[in-house]
Structure formats: structure tokens, C-alpha cells
Symmetry: C3
Subunit: 446 residues, 3 copies
């Protein structure tokens, strides 16, 4: 038996000296209570729903965001989004799309027909005179399509059209308009999906953990370890530091202008963060540092921007779109300005051959498993109570506070939808068929 | 952004004029509260358990109805049914059938032996003198076998034998004895499984939703849309209307005679229901109507009769037998009187070649998915609170009220049985092996 | 309809005469309330974690016992065990083992590094100066390796090293030191894993039920029926009795010496238990009894010893190690003293050819399914309330009382770990991939 006194898990006993912004004490925690409550995501925000190419003319698809079932239909090129749950008996319209004209979508079950634009119940196929018609409907969601991506403003049923903010308020800051405020000493300007000639290439897939856990990994500066053996790192001969440490309290800038996105920018690869090259106790030393200089920021409702990544003139965006309280749709999108067809083709070629396999997979696959590895700890509340944070966790703490301050609403738990009931027999049947719960509605095959 | 005011999901704002029977207001809802409480089914009713051919001489099978595990054994042609849960340590007798004589069934685990007729603990294999013997036992269930089907009276433990009603009280009304009351202007007399020379051919399978949701689809007149593309419809050159609408409050007759089944009969294809041939707004019109004239009724504990379907002289029965609160065993049975062997053979041939693939599958597969598509909406109570019903929903509302009034008891949630515990590790193991939860006990293989 | 009055499940109406120790009345039940509370197992006890050969030099494995995630690492032949949950973001260290030296284990995610011996946070790879270092850590678990098995003392975070009992206190009684107290009239001395030259051969696998249900099957004398058709029984020409019955209240001796294991010894194959050879009512008679004379005992925290089984000079040990409240790791180990290499080789040969296929599988597979068959009955509490015990159940009742009296703590429900959250999406994903929840951590594959 070992004689020394074991030190067991217990409350941290730090004794001052550390900057307040880095302490996760009860006062700090109370400042991000809204974030802790947002298991089902923040509502009244813009989220990516599909890539444009996933919804052809006249196509119908069903997805779920923040516990809300959403059906999308494209007519004459324009995309419409409605709540994907018939007011009558609650089936999803998208399960078996039925459309009789270009202005409406009809429920395949009893013929309830809704106006695509407003969601109003405009007729019932075999019941034209019913008194319900015109008096009720399903919620409609504003849609904006840009750069090959379809964005939906996922809102509460009573959120007024007049208050819908522009998409740009839920996207990362845009350059060069914010260059003065957020100068980028080491790298070229970073393109936005809103830029002219911007091209977005990427993928999305379901991550099996809460969106916040995923998001916090996205801009986490302290997990470089996970990536050290990645193929892209080795292929590029990058030599990563062991990590980077904040050197001052202004290592992170809040992004809180009234008329724009809300989030934070991390001053990575400036003197506000110091690379760490060795650990004496463990006798580890990094030689010949050959870094990849990137900068990360994150804005509501949970959008990551990695500038200058995975190479110059490219930005990687990531979204962690809440599906339920324990699944999210993970979006990885690379954006580059391609002024002509040749540039587009080259970008697409390099995306297919290098970035998709080695970065979006490869490198980010590691992030995905790290995120999922945290799930059990946070799923039952244990993590929120027991996590012991350190100085590098200034990033998630700052984010949690800002997100708590500026979100437009906390999504209530999903009701009456798949996965709201954890033990649905339909889920069990699908599991027995080898299908995990995910983002898309399963279409009915006659 | 769209300027018009979106109409979102909200409480219906109908303003009078509609018949009371069609309004699903708080008062109406309170009239069917017992039905809303009957998630696990109605107890003290007759349910089909197995087709006769599924239980050969000396065979033992285990099933579950209304959350109650039931073991069936056939001896000298007669079927016995007992609670399938040993009083000792609770294992299911049917998991590994052990019978030492023709009067009893023995638990394979510790030898507790129960009288087949009464359920009394008559001996313990290696403990003949135990004081428990003769003082306790398991509940027995009355059994009746008719027309190739085994029916079990699924009762509460304290329901007296003397009060067991005849099977006919839990079957649809029988003709010609009810012909005066329910004349059938357009079709021939409808056979009953109780008729001499009646032949029942059919199938049963597990449906992954609550039994009520399934049942309400069975007699639902407003979902003809779902079936318009079905192969049987096209093969027969039927031209279905878009739907049918009730034209008066007597469109449905309650079946409430003291000494018989309780339910309702719908006067379809009479002047009390009008076929709908067009929808002007959607510019749909049905030409050359060539209907299939059927009539539907439903009686407790949830038995559908479709007369004159899928062809003359045939009746389709359906049962939605509750297994748990979210699964049911779906029975589809066609009945025809076949006075001789030739007629039986012909019916069987047509059943195998036409009715089984195109009707019980094909046509009714569409009903099954429609039923399952409603599950999520109702499973967490959302549907019961939020459904917005219309004039055609006079059918489910009438049924809910009648079922609330006449059922013989609300089954309590299953206890100590498979699927009562949603997250049983055994369920998880089976899911990992590709097996969905269902109706039959999984037999143990040594 | 059957005229006799059915006897349904009800409270037992025994009327005296039976010894108190056999009655499972409210008073008796209150005496084993702690046992009923111990769904997640007893904590502060020694449990087998791995066979030595499952953890090679420098290997790392993660398991879960009593809801506690545990990581094991072997360095210079010595095994260390720590709580397998990083204090930072809660990931399991074992999911992707990372070790920079022989004294520590590092979290693969953010580089938190823990002393193998004490669990203290000794450094963070890229954050050497963080104030958290040295002030906190993860719980360490005493380890003892004996006879090819690694035992871990699974303790509460605040259980002091000084109070850790010797392993022998959580193992069955040892002979010949206890021979006087527990003479074994019919069989040779029984080896202990603590004996010089003892060899332990066995296997472990996950059982899908609560550990108590499994354990009570282990020493249950009344289920011989389950085994009558087993291949080993037929191969050896054993003729088993139908069962055995206690003949007096001293049929079981408590093992309660202050300085040793706590449990009970059953005086099987003595005049305190009578073999049962026939059941007159069922007309069953055993002829030419050719028994296998064994003796069983069980001690905390749930260790079975079957002496003289499956043949002379061998003991079968079984452990039912709680993983969660509804899964356990089932250990089956045969122990024999093999003084030389020849004896070891012979034992191994016979183990591989006979004992492993016919006993640990074969015979004990029957026990495993019997245990799992009880799960549903007990999982929701039904079994604990409704089981109707008989005279042979003096064994579980005695065990329940002794375990309640002498356990060193009731494990609290697991928190923040796999399977604590029943409906983890990660579990669902794994089920969809055909993986049932189990004992080992799933390693991350880059």
C-alpha cells in the first residue's frame, strides 16, 4: 500500500493572483447561467440548414434545429421554410412531400394545405369549407440563400417579422470593414461568405453531443495535443507548439457592436498569446517551430471563424447547429474568393484532394471525437458542476458570458418531435435497422 | 424579407356554426379523458392473441397485451392462458417452456408448477411440501378459439370469472341480426368470424406507436389521399374521391345496446357523407369516380370492421392490440363465409395472390406508416393538447367518447415486464443484435 | 368458461410453522434494506478489474466498476489505477492513452497530467505554471495483483488509505486455516487464489442485469433444473437430484469473523440439506443418483466460491462486478494449485478443452440467461415488492441480511459517465453500429 496521502477530486483551492476573467467561481458561473440553460440552443438566430445543392428545384427536405422540425421547399429557385409538423395530427410534411401548386405545401395525410410564404392554412384538399381554414397555420421561417448555403431564421412562434435581423448579424465579423478594429498582422484578409465571388465548400454531419460542448472545442486554444499527429500537420511539415498561453487579459476582444454580430475574437499569434515549447517535468521540447498562423473568433449563435486556415486566403467556418439537447449538426465550410472560373475550379480541386480528406476529415475528425468524449460528463450536469478550469479556459468562459448576454432567446426543449421522447419505439426500430438518430427526416417509401 | 404577417401555430379561433359534435373544446376533451388515460389499453376485454396455426398441440408461446405478459399452451387441442411471470423470481415461463404433464406448466428456473386451468401453484418440482403451494398462483385468462383465431380475455387480477362477457360483446356487430338497425343499402351482408363456415385469413405484426393512434387511423375517413397511388387501387381501376364529408350530425351511429358490443357505425356511402370531387384552390378534380363502396365501424376494445372490403362478401377486421404504451400488435384479418372446400381454397388462393400483397401489405402498409408518423406528436402529450381537429374528425371524437363511456377498465402501466423499463440493458443488447422490441417472447436457446 | 375460481397473484397467505429465517416478511425485508439500496453495488471493496495478461507492460485500459470510471496502467510491472475522468473537461484518459513518462498519465485532450501513484495533478503539458497544479487531482485506487488477476480497491473519494483492508477480507474463506470451522467432509481442501502456486484460469464478460440478481443465482441451490440437460452433466454421467432442501435452520453458517471476509457458507451435501429425488404430483423420479459434491459460499462484495467444482482440487470463483445498476461484469475463474510446470500445463489443457467450453460456457451460460431473465421483474422494483419466496430461499435472504450488515458503503449512482445517462446519443450511435454497452472503454481510433 502506498503511504502518501492521495489527492482526490475536490474543489479547486486556488489562492488569488490569477486574473478574474480566468476564474470560474460561483459569481462567474452565475454570469453564464443563460448559457447553461441553453441545452437546446439559442432561438431567434440564423442557422445553416442545407447546402443549396442539397435542395433542387421543387425538392422538399425536412430537418430539425433547436428541437424545431423544419420543412424546406424550393420553388422557382426560392427557398421557403415552415414548421414541419401538421397542425392536425402532427405528422411531418416532409416525410412524404405533396405539393399541388407552387404556392403551398400539402400534408400527405389529410390534405391540410399551407401557404409557403406565411404558413397559413389555406385549404384542406377534401374539405374546402372547413371553418378552420384561414384562421390558423404553421410558423414560417425567413430564409436567405447565400454562397451556396441556405440559412433559416429559426424563431419562436411569436417572433415578429419586423424584428428579424440581417443574416450578417449572425455571421463572423467581415473584413476589410472590421480590419481597423481587428487588424491581422500576420495573414491576408479573410473572405466572408457575403463577399462577392466567395465560394463555400464543405460538409455537414451529425455530432453526438450537445452543441455547446462542440462549440467550445472549436475555438479552444489548449488542445493542440490532439492534433499533433494529424496527417495534414505532417504533410505540411508544420511543427506545432505544445500549446499557447494567454499573456494578458486583453488576449480576447469581445465583439459587441450594437449593429453587428456578438461574440469574441482571440488574438492568437500575437504577443497576447505565448507559444509553449516545452514542459520540463515531462521532458518534452518542440524543436524548429513551423507554425500555421491562424486566428479564431466565435459569434452567436455559435459560429466559428478560423482565418488563414487551412491555408492563406481561406477561412474555415464551423457551425454547431443544435438538433436536440444532445445532438448537433456539425458544419465545416471553407470559404475563398474566386474571381473567375479557373480560380473556382482550382479551389474545388484542392478542396476535394486535400482539404476534404485531410482537414474536414482527418484534422477535424479529431475534434469531433474529442467533443463526443466530453458528452457523458456534461449530459447529466456533472461537468457544469465539477469541471476545473485553468488559465487557457479564459476562452470558453468569455464566450459563455457573451453568449449569455447577447443571445436572442433560449430554445425550449423540443416537444412532439423525434428525439424529444428519448425512448420512442420508432427510434428503437431504427436502431435495430442500424440507423442512428440524426438531422434529416426519414422519408416514407411507399 | 416577406412583408405579410405570418400566421403561426395557435389556438383555433372558430366562431360558432359548426355542430357541437365536431368541436374538440375543453368540454368535449373532458368527455374522453378516460380514453386519454388509456395509453396501455383497455383491460377486461377480449383480444386476439395468436392465429390457431401459430400454436400447435403442446406448443407454448409468450406474448404481451396491455402490458401483461401472457403464456399460452395448447393441450389436447384446448388453449390455456396464464400470466407469464413466475410468482417466485419473475421470469417468463414461456422463455423456456417446461411441462411435465397435460394439466400444468412448470417454471424452467426453480420448478414452480401452475395449474393450466386456474393458475394455482400446485407444486414445486423439488419442494413438494412448501407451505406456499396451493395458497397462491398466477392469474388465468379465459380463452376462446374461433375461426382459426385464439382470443384471450385480458383481465385484471381480481376480475371475476362470473363477469367475463361473451366474445361477441368485443366483436363488431353481426349481420343479419343487426341488419334492421344498420341496413346496408349498397353491399351484401357482411360475414362475422362467428358465422358458420367463416374463414379468417390474415397476418399480425408489431406497429411502433400507441394503439389509439393506430386505431383512429383505421376508421379515419379523411385520409384517402394516402391511398390514391396504391397498387390495389390502380389494379382495380378504382377512382377514389378526394375525400368524404359528413353532411349531418347523424353521419355516425353509436352502437350502445346493453347486451352487445360498444362502438360506432359510420354511414359511409350514404347521403350522410358526401364524396368530395374537387378542390378549386388547388385545381384538383376527380373524373369518372369509380368507388369501392365500403362501410366502417369500430367497437371496443379497438376492433375495426370494414364491410364489403376489399371485395364483396368479405369483411376486413383490424385489431390494434396494445403491447406497451407505445407499441401495438397490428392484426389484419379478412373474413369470408366459405361453405365448402372449393370456396375455402379459392379464398385462400385469392388471399395469397391479391389480398395479402396488395391489401394487407400495399394498401395497409400506408396506414401503418401514417400511424407511426403520428407517434412523436402524441407520445409526449403534445398531440393531445395541440391537435387541431376539423369537421371530418367527428369520427375520432365520437369514438373517444364512446370508448371512454363503455370500456371495462383502463390498463395500468406495465410493471416488471419487458419494455416497462425503457432503458433495459437487455433491450439495448437486443438492439445491438438488430432486434426491435415486439410482441413475442424471445425464447432462450441453450 | 371454466367454473372453478381462479387463484390470482396475491400476497402469500402462509400460516406459521415455517422457520423465521425463511420468511420474507416486512420485518425481514427491512433487515436488508441497504442491500435493496445497493443497485450500483457496494463501494470500498476489492474487485477484480482485469486478468494480468489483459494489461501488458505500459498498456492502458479503461473500465467501469460501481459506476466509477477507472483507468489502469502498468509500469515496470506494477499496476496503477486512477479515476478515469479528467478533472478538466471530464474525458476518459483511457480513451486515447498518452503517457510521457513512467510516473504519470496525461490527458490526451488538454495535457492535464496526473501522478500515477497519488492522482495529483502534477503538470499541464502546455501550462506548467497554472495555479491549479498540485492543488487537486483524481482519486487513486489501491491495486493488488495476485494469481494472474488485478484487483482494485474501488473506493469513495474520501476513503482513507489507512483504512484499506487487505484483499483477503474480500475473498472467500481460505483453507486449511478455516478448516476447523468449516470442515469439508466429502471433498479435498479447496485452493485459494492467495495460495502458493495457485493458478487461476477463467474469463469475464458483461451480463445484462443488476449484479445482485446475478449473484443470487450464483449460490442458489434451487435451480438445478436449469442445468439438467447440460453437456458437462451428461458427459460426466452425473445424475443430479431435482433439487436440495434445507432440513434445519443451521443449513447456512454466517461468516462474520471480525478480521476476515463477511458472508455465508452453505452446508450442501451434508445432512443439513436433503436431496430431492422425486415429485409425486408430476410423476418425476431421479434414478441412480450420481452427484457432483460441491459446497458454495459467498462473501462481500459478491464473490462466490464453489469448492470441489467442476472437479476435485479445483474451486470455481465468480464475481458479479457492478458496472451500472443494470449491467455487471461476470467473472468465472477456476483455481487450482499447480506445484510445477507440468501441472500448470495439464490444468491449462483441461481448462481449454473441457472446463472453458462445457463449464464456464455451457453450464454457466445457462446461469447467465437465467439471471438476465429476472432483470425486467426487478429493474423497476416490482420484483423486490412482489417476489414470493420459499423455504429454499433461505439462501438469498441470509445473504441479503449479511450483505446489509457488513458492506463498507453503498455506491451512489454513477454520474457523468457512460450509461449513467440512459439515453446518451453516443449509446444510440453505438447501438446502431451493433455495439452493446459493456465494461471496457471504447478506444478512439484516429
Amino acid at each position: 500500500m502506498n503511504d502518501s496521502t492521495p489527492i482526490r477530486r475536490r474543489v479547486r483551492t486556488a489562492t488569488g493572483g490569477i486574473s478574474d476573467s480566468r476564474v470560474n467561481d460561483a459569481k462567474t458561473q452565475s454570469q453564464y447561467q443563460p448559457y447553461k440553460d441553453a441545452a437546446w440552443g439559442f432561438i431567434n438566430h440564423w442557422y445553416p440548414a442545407l447546402f443549396s445543392e442539397e435542395l433542387g428545384e421543387d425538392a422538399v427536405e425536412g430537418i430539425q434545429i433547436c428541437g424545431i422540425p423544419i420543412v424546406l421547399r424550393r420553388v422557382n429557385g426560392k427557398v421557403f421554410a415552415l414548421k414541419d409538423q401538421c397542425i392536425h395530427r402532427g405528422v411531418r410534411l416532409s416525410a412524404k412531400p405533396m405539393c399541388f401548386d407552387k404556392k403551398s405545401i400539402t400534408c400527405w395525410y389529410h390534405g391540410f394545405t399551407f401557404d409557403l410564404e406565411t404558413g397559413t392554412l389555406v385549404t384542406i384538399v377534401a374539405n374546402e369549407e372547413d371553418k378552420l381554414i384561414g384562421t390558423t397555420g404553421i410558423t414560417s421561417y425567413p430564409v436567405q440563400e447565400v454562397c451556396g448555403m441556405i440559412f433559416v431564421f429559426v424563431r419562436a412562434d411569436d417572433f415578429p417579422d419586423a424584428d428579424v435581423p440581417p443574416l450578417s448579424h449572425d455571421l463572423p465579423v467581415r473584413f476589410p470593414e472590421r480590419s481597423e478594429e481587428f487588424p491581422h498582422p500576420l495573414w491576408p484578409a479573410a473572405p466572408s461568405i457575403l463577399d462577392e465571388n466567395a465560394v463555400a465548400l464543405g460538409m455537414h454531419r451529425t455530432g453526438f453531443t450537445n452543441w455547446r460542448i462542440a462549440c467550445e472545442n472549436g475555438f479552444d486554444n489548449a488542445h493542440i495535443l490532439v492534433h499533433k499527429d494529424n496527417t495534414i500537420v505532417q504533410a505540411m511539415n508544420w511543427v506545432l507548439p505544445l500549446g499557447i498561453l494567454p499573456t494578458s487579459d486583453d488576449c480576447i476582444s469581445p465583439i459587441e457592436d450594437e449593429d453587428g454580430p456578438k461574440g469574441m475574437m482571440q488574438w492568437l499569434f500575437t504577443d497576447r498569446w505565448a507559444p509553449v515549447l516545452e514542459n520540463k517535468m515531462l521532458d518534452i521540447k518542440v524543436e524548429g517551430l513551423n507554425g500555421r498562423f491562424y486566428r479564431t473568433s466565435v459569434v452567436l449563435p455559435g459560429v466559428l471563424m478560423v482565418e488563414n486556415w487551412p491555408e492563406e486566403h481561406i477561412v474555415q467556418y464551423e457551425w454547431y447547429v443544435p438538433i436536440t439537447e444532445d445532438t448537433h449538426e456539425y458544419w465545416e465550410v471553407l470559404v475563398k474568393v474566386c474571381p473567375d472560373e479557373k480560380a473556382q475550379k482550382d479551389f474545388k480541386y484542392r478542396f476535394d484532394r486535400v482539404f476534404l480528406p485531410l482537414c474536414l476529415h482527418g484534422f477535424n475528425d479529431c475534434d469531433l471525437y474529442a467533443r463526443e468524449a466530453m458528452h457523458d460528463f456534461y449530459a447529466d450536469g456533472t461537468g457544469w458542476d465539477n469541471e476545473q478550469l485553468v488559465s487557457t479556459d479564459v476562452s470558453p468562459i468569455t464566450w459563455r458570458k457573451i453568449a449569455s448576454r447577447w443571445n436572442r432567446g433560449i430554445a425550449p426543449p423540443g416537444r412532439g418531435v423525434e428525439n424529444a421522447t428519448k425512448h420512442s419505439p420508432i427510434k428503437y426500430r431504427r436502431l435495430s435497422e442500424g440507423k442512428a438518430p440524426g438531422y434529416f427526416v426519414e422519408k416514407i417509401n411507399d
